[in-house]
Symmetry: C2
Subunit: 302 residues, 2 copies
Amino acid sequence: MMDELPLEQVRTLLAVVDEGTFDAAASALHVTPSAVSQRVKSLEQRTGRVLLMRTKPVRPTESGEVVIRFARQLARLERDARAELGMGAADGLGPVRLPMAVNADSLATWFLPALTRVPQDPPVCFELYREDEGHTTALLREGQVMAAVTSSPDPVAGCTVRALGLVRYLAVASPGFAARHLTGAPARDLCEAPLIVFDRRDELQDAFVRGLTDGASGASRARHHVPTSEGFRDAVAAGLGWGLVPQTQADPLIRSGRLLELAPERPLDVPLYWQQWKLDSPALALVARVVAESAQESLRPV
Amino acid sequence: MMDELPLEQVRTLLAVVDEGTFDAAASALHVTPSAVSQRVKSLEQRTGRVLLMRTKPVRPTESGEVVIRFARQLARLERDARAELGMGAADGLGPVRLPMAVNADSLATWFLPALTRVPQDPPVCFELYREDEGHTTALLREGQVMAAVTSSPDPVAGCTVRALGLVRYLAVASPGFAARHLTGAPARDLCEAPLIVFDRRDELQDAFVRGLTDGASGASRARHHVPTSEGFRDAVAAGLGWGLVPQTQADPLIRSGRLLELAPERPLDVPLYWQQWKLDSPALALVARVVAESAQESLRPV
């Protein structure tokens, strides 16, 4: 199907999704809004599918996402080819861009030091998206990112996946918090004491508690949402609640006495995976290699 | 208008928006999908407006957002009244929830220490959303959050606004980066050297450069996106690019020699504001007072 798609229409669809409206796409492409509308309609007739939901901003349908991913991969290949031909700087193409999605705890611990090892000659621009794994998958599917660190081993269509290693999480709380809330049976205490979660979708703590209590998770108790990795750790250290913190972030605070480990016999190991487009991009291959090496040093073996 | 809205229909609309589909709302409310659909249609007939875009997930229209905000405020008032009447714990209502939106740099510096000063008796659950100010406004308008730290002084409908203070940003880079990229005229160097921005919408650095150069912003040079406050600072310290870092985060690294201040005569002061619902909630009033006090200690006076 793909090689029969009229590329001008495909690029127009991409512009509409990126700009959010037909009018904005028209002004970005220097054509009239009715030309934009006409091209999208032709593409929909040719593919026999509705490609855009006409919301504000517009959203691609599932079929639309396939075409959008194709459009982004096309733009990428074109850019790489031009860079290899030395056509980059001359016509303002700029450096290679590598959009990637990373979960917050990786970004706060091992991922950024890994990126600083990537040689910057020629320069490579890292465009990081900080996302939980559910949305990461959508970003890969739409082609918004070329690669992602995710906790899901299921490859997105058009992507390869490889295991990076395990992140160890420890259940911790401040000594003051433990003295106030954690004086009885450990499992019941952790089920009822105030809890910190990353956001509404963070189920790590609940899963941990269910493992201790044969199913009860204390869903109705006080729970704070603190949606940054460092803020989460700081909120635990400040005594707002208990929570699961990556061992590399918890260890210094445990040693200095600001955090107590609550269940030393029950660490939680979460596997991380690297997913990336099946695409022959030298810059992406270089980053993938450096990330895999750093993961091997920083994470626990699977 | 509001006091004539049938509350069962209003609550049903809220469930549809929160659950994302009519079917999910039906199962959350223990009624049939056709009952849900019927209630939403009746509410649309009564208000004379389309309230929902039938997308997946559904989205409220602008009129729908007004009703949704009313529904959330209603739920809040009911909850507060029941808590004051001592009906909280008895029927599993749980602690008071305070959803708030905060920009990333505030969350990484002064905001979390402020929250730890709020007495936790009775417990108050902080549900923090980390958002740039554009999306913050949408969260306030939909009633998803009750309050927000934002850089916009324009009050969202139904909200009050007050100034908190100024955050000072310093242009910084690592000494190695400065030796490689910043050896000529400062304004031209900052316009052309690799740059770190928070995300696609972060225009702080570009605005700063335009102020130095009479309008040029070097839009085509290498720019990395690092969407966490601590990661941004770490990426600058690692030499990936220069960037504007809050003074409280930059100062320790300037003192230890890991960062250089690039334009000591041109700090950038960004005002912050507190917006909150016009709603008589004791818990919200308490948090607003503590936040204002902490801002006065941590931020620069306006």
